[in-house]
C-alpha cells in the first residue's frame, strides 16, 4: 500500500459525506434529502436517540475494525475541523505537537452530556453534540448566503422567463439559535486553527465514547521501530496530537485514522495494520449507558395545561391586537392595502411536528440540528427560543401553515424525534387544537362575514354557524369540532385578523390519530 493511499481514500470519503450533509442542509427544495437523508441517519448520536441499532452496531463495528475513522469521515464537524486545520497547514507546515490525553476533562464532559440528556435538558446537552452543532452552523450561517445566491439566480431566471429557480425568503428564525451557531463557529474555528482536533479530544461526547472502542480496533497505526528514524514528522503532522514519535507511542483513543502520519513519514515506518500490539495504558472501561430514551420517557414530568393561564394569554392577545386593519374608505382606484405582519401568539403548549408523538418524546430526542427547519418549505418550523428547549424546532403559522402534502421534517429527522409518517398518516395526526378568539374575529368585531378559516380547513373541522344575537341571521362564526381539528394552522394562517389571528392553534402534549 502506498503510504498516501489511506489518506486519499479518507479524504475522498470525507469530502463525499461532508458535501452531502452540507448540501442537504442548504437545499430547501426537498430534492436532495431523498438521496442524502441516510447520511444524517448514519450520525452516531442521532442513531442512538433513534434507537437505530443497526446503525449503532455498524458504527461500533467500523470503530472496532478501523478506529475512530467515523470522526474523520462521517462526522461533518470533524471534517470541518480538518479543513480549517488544513488551511492553517498551508501557511505553517509541521506545526502540531504531541500532548497527553486530558482524560478527566473528557470523561467529565461525556458524563455531563449523558446526565443532561437523561435529565431532559437537551438544550444544554446538544451544545456539545458534533453533528447538530454543525447543522446549526450551516442552517444559520451558510443557509442565508446560499439562499441569497439562489435568489440572485431566481431573479435571473425570472428575467429569462424560466421557472428553474424560485425565490426563498431569508428571515431570522431565532436570534438565540443564530448566536449559538455563530459562537460555536468561532470557537470551533479558533480551536481547529490552533491545534486541530482539540474539540474532538476533549469535549466531543461521541468522540470520547468511540474512544473506548477505538483502543481495541483491529487495524491500527503502528510505528515500525526498525524503520523509524525519530524524525518527529508524524507528531508534527498529527492534528489529533496523539503520536509521540520520540517514544513510538500512539494514543489510539484519540487517533482518527486520518492517515496523515503515514503520508508524512519519510521512511514508510508507519503502517496501518493489525498486529498484536501492546494495549495503551488506559483505565478500565466502565460501561456508560446512553440509553437515554428508555430513561427519558420515565423521567418526564407531565405538564398540565392550565386553562386559566390560557385564558389570560388569549386575553392579553386581544389587548395587543386590533381586530383587523381598518377598512379604508375606498375613494380612488388601484393601489394595494398595507398588510400588517402577524405576530407569533404566545402558545401555552408549543406545537411540534406531526410524528413527534409526545412532547416529552420529542424534547428528549431532538438534538436541535435544524435539518427539519432547513427543509420546511412553508416557513412553519423555527427553533424554539424557550431556554429549556432552545434550538428544538417549534411550529408557528405567521408565514404559512403545515400543508397536508408535506412530510419533509419527518422524512429527514435522523434522531427519531419526528418519526417517519406517510402523507395519509400525517393528514390524520392531531398535533394541535385550534381555538377561536371571539374578540379578534372580524365577524364579531366588525360585523363582516368571513368564513375563511372554514373554507381552508383541510380536516373539515370548522363549520360556520349563526352568531347568537345577530338579528340579521347572516353573520356566521366558526364552530370548531375538536375531534376533527389536527392543528395544521390553515385557519390561523388565512385568518384576516391582524396582527393576531382570531383563530389560534395550541399544541397538544400527546399527538394522536383522529
Amino acid at each position: 500500500m502506498n503510504k498516501k493511499t489511506l489518506q486519499r481514500i479518507r479524504r475522498v470519503l470525507a469530502a463525499i459525506f461532508f458535501l452531502g450533509i452540507t448540501l442537504m442542509f442548504l437545499d430547501f427544495t426537498g430534492t436532495l434529502h431523498k438521496f442524502l437523508a441516510w447520511m444524517a441517519k448514519a450520525q452516531f448520536l442521532p442513531a442512538v436517540l433513534a434507537l437505530n441499532f443497526i446503525v449503532i452496531a455498524l458504527l461500533l463495528i467500523l470503530t472496532l475494525l478501523f478506529g475512530r475513522i467515523y470522526c474523520s469521515v462521517i462526522c461533518p464537524l470533524g471534517v470541518f475541523q480538518d479543513g480549517v486545520a488544513h488551511v492553517h497547514n498551508w501557511a505553517k507546515k509541521n506545526r502540531h505537537t504531541f500532548s497527553k490525553a486530558h482524560n478527566i476533562l473528557r470523561y467529565i464532559m461525556l458524563g455531563l452530556f449523558v446526565v443532561l440528556l437523561i435529565a431532559g435538558v437537551n438544550s444544554v446537552a446538544v451544545l456539545l453534540a458534533p453533528y447538530s452543532a454543525y447543522g446549526r452552523m450551516v442552517q444559520s450561517l451558510l443557509g442565508p448566503i446560499y439562499q441569497w445566491c439562489n435568489n440572485g439566480l431566481a431573479a435571473l431566471s425570472e428575467h429569462f422567463h424560466s421557472y428553474a429557480f424560485y425565490t426563498k425568503e431569508v428571515w431570522m428564525r431565532s436570534l438565540p439559535t443564530f448566536i449559538v451557531a455563530a459562537v460555536t463557529f468561532v470557537v470551533i474555528v479558533i480551536l481547529a486553527w490552533r491545534n486541530g482536533r482539540t474539540y474532538c479530544n476533549n469535549i466531543c461526547p461521541v468522540g470520547t465514547f468511540l474512544s473506548f472502542f477505538s483502543r481495541f480496533s483491529w487495524f491500527k497505526m503502528h510505528i515500525n521501530e526498525e524503520k523509524c528514524i525519530k524524525c518527529g514528522l508524524c507528531t508534527k503532522n498529527c492534528k489529533s496530537s496523539c503520536i509521540d514519535g520520540e517514544n513510538g507511542f500512539v494514543d489510539y483513543s484519540r487517533c482518527v485514522t486520518c492517515g496523515n502520519c503515514m503520508a508524512a513519514c519519510p521512511k514508510g515506518a508507519i503502517e496501518f495494520k493489525h498486529a498484536a500490539a501492546k494495549p495503551a495504558p488506559v483505565e478500565t472501561f466502565h460501561e456508560t449507558s446512553l440509553q437515554t430514551d428508555e430513561n427519558g420517557n420515565k423521567m418526564g414530568k407531565t405538564e398540565t395545561v392550565d386553562t386559566s393561564k390560557r385564558a389570560f394569554l388569549i386575553g392579553s392577545a386581544v389587548a395587543i391586537g386590533t381586530a383587523a386593519f381598518a377598512q379604508e374608505k375606498k375613494k380612488v382606484d388601484g393601489g394595494l392595502a398595507a398588510i400588517e405582519d402577524k405576530v407569533t401568539p404566545v402558545r401555552t403548549v408549543p406545537i411540534v411536528p406531526a410524528g413527534a408523538g409526545s412532547l416529552q418524546h420529542f424534547r428528549t430526542h431532538c438534538t436541535g440540528c435544524q435539518l427539519c427547519v432547513s427543509q420546511c418549505p412553508n416557513d412553519v418550523l423555527r427553533p424554539s427560543t424557550e431556554l429549556l428547549h432552545l434550538m428544538q424546532p417549534v411550529m408557528s403559522y405567521e408565514r404559512g401553515w403545515c400543508r397536508p402534502e408535506c412530510t419533509a421534517c419527518s422524512d429527514v429527522c435522523p434522531t427519531g424525534a419526528i418519526r417517519k409518517l406517510l402523507k395519509e398518516e400525517k393528514a390524520v395526526t392531531k398535533k394541535g387544537q385550534a381555538y377561536w378568539i371571539s374578540q379578534n374575529c372580524l365577524v364579531v368585531a366588525d360585523g363582516i362575514s368571513c368564513g375563511n378559516c372554514a373554507r381552508h380547513c383541510p380536516a373539515m373541522a370548522i363549520e360556520m354557524v349563526p352568531k347568537r344575537g345577530d338579528a340579521t341571521g347572516r353573520l356566521l362564526i366558526p364552530a370548531i369540532n375538536e375531534t376533527r381539528c389536527i392543528g395544521c394552522g390553515a385557519c390561523e394562517y388565512v385568518c384576516p385578523a391582524r396582527p393576531l389571528s382570531a383563530i389560534v392553534v395550541e399544541g397538544v402534549e400527546q399527538q394522536r390519530t383522529i
Binding site: 425570472e158 421557472y163 424560485y166 425565490t167 386593519f325 377598512q327 379604508e328 374608505k329 375606498k330 375613494k331 380612488v332 382606484d333 388601484g334 393601489g335 394595494l336 392595502a337 398595507a338 398588510i339 408565514r399 404559512g400 400543508r403 397536508p404 402534502e405 372580524l442 363582516i448 362575514s449 368571513c450 368564513g451 375563511n452 373554507r455 381552508h456 388565512v494 384576516p496
Partner: protein
Amino acid sequence: MKDISRRDFLKLLGAGTVATAATMAGCQNKDGDLNLRGTLQPQKGQMTYRTNPNTGDKVSLLGFGMMRLPVVEENAPKGASGREAKSAPIDQEMVNKMVDKAIEYGVNYFDTSPVYCQGRSEKATGIALSRHKRDSYYLATKMSNFAPGTWPREESIKMFYNSLKELQTDYIDYMLLHSVGGGQDGMEMLRQRYYDNGILDFLLEQREKGVIRNLGFSYHGDVKVFDYLLSRHDEYKWDFVQIEMNYLDWHFAHEIEAENTRADYLYNELAKRKIPAVIMEPLLGGRLANVPDHIVREMKEREPERSVASWAFRFCGTFPDVLTSLSGMTYMDHLDDNLATHCPLKPLTQEELDFLEDIAKKIYDLKNIPCTACQYCMPCPYGLDIPGIFTHYNKCIKEGNFAKSHEDSEFQKMRKAFLVGYDRSVPKLRQADHCIHCGACTMHCPQRINIPEMMQKVDEYVEKLKQGTL
C-alpha cells in the same frame, strides 16, 4: 426619419440587448434602407377623424386613455402602471412626452377621471395638456362619485370643480356620468348618485352654460340602466355614450359573464339614435393584445406587419358611429403601435370581420377570467392583489401552463410554471387564499366578475396543484 425609426425599433425590442443588436445588424445588411416598420410607420397628418354630429368636433379615432399612466420605474414593480404602484410617483416626464407625440400625430381626445391612478391622473393630465393650446384637444372627464361619501350634492359638485382645477381649464369637452349600471342594484345606484342629489340636473345646467360641451355616460353592467337612460334621450339629449366594445364582447359579453350585455346590442341601440359611441376596453385591458401563440400565428399570417393589438382597434374603427377608441397607454411603444394603426385606420373587410369572430370564439373557449386589470376593485381592504391574481391565472392559460389533470403530458412543467409564477407575480399574503369573501370588490367590477367566487376557484386550483389531487 431614419434615425427615429431605428430608435423606435430598438425600443420596441428592448434596446441594448445583444439579440436586438444582432437583429439590427441583420436587417441593415438585408436592405440598407432601414424602413424597419414597413407600412406600420405612422404617417403624420394621416390620422383618421370622426365628426361629432352634435358639435361638429373632429375627433381623432384614437383617444388617449389616462387610466394606465406610467410610473417612475425604480420605485415600482416591473411593468406596473400608476393604478397599481402606490408608492411610485407618476412618471410625469414620460406622460408629457407621450402626450406631445400623440398630439403631434393628431390625437386630440384625452379621457381621464378623478379616481384614475389612485386619484393622480387628472393632475398629470392637466400638467401635460396645459403645455398645449386649449383648443387643440378635447378633454373628457367624469363624475366619479362612487364612494357613498361623495353622494351628497355639495360633495359631488366639489368633485366637479376640482376636476376643472386639476385639469387647469374652465370647461370640459366631454363629461360623463361615470360607470352607471354598477353596484348591487344598478337602478338604485343610479338614483343615489345622480337623481336624489340633483347632480344630473346640475350637469345639464353646466351644459347649458357651456362649461360642459358634451354630456354623456359610461356604462357597465346592468342593462336596465342603459335602456332607461336611452329611453329618456329626448329629454337629456345625450351627446355621446361610452360603451365597452371589442371583438370578444361583440357576441360573447353575455356568455362570459351572465350579467353583461353584448356589445353589438349596445352599439346598435346608440346607432339607431345617432348617438356617437366612445369605445372603452377595445383591447380588454391588453388581453386582446396578449393572446395564445396559435392565435398570434393566425393573425400574423394575414397581416405580418401589423401588431396583434391592431386587429382590435381596427375592429372598433370599422363601425362608422364610433367616435373614438380609448386606449390606456402606459408605454411609448403602445402609443407608437396605436398611431401606426390609426394613421390612417384601415377598416376591416367583411371577410376579416368573420375571421375575428372565429378568433373571438377561440379566445372565449380558453375560459379566461374576464378581468381587464382596470383596478376598479382595488385596493382590496384585505390586501389581495386581485388583478394580479387573475392576470397570472389568465397568463398561464394563455401560455399553455394550465393543467387539466395530473395525466397531462407536461404536468410537472405546467405545475411549476403556475406555482412558481404565482409566487413571483403575487406576494404570498396577497394571494387568493386570503380572500375572505367580504364582497367589497364585486360592486366595483365593470366586468361584473364574481370576484370572491373566482378567488375560490383560483385557490382551489392552487390547492389541487400543491396537494397533487388534480
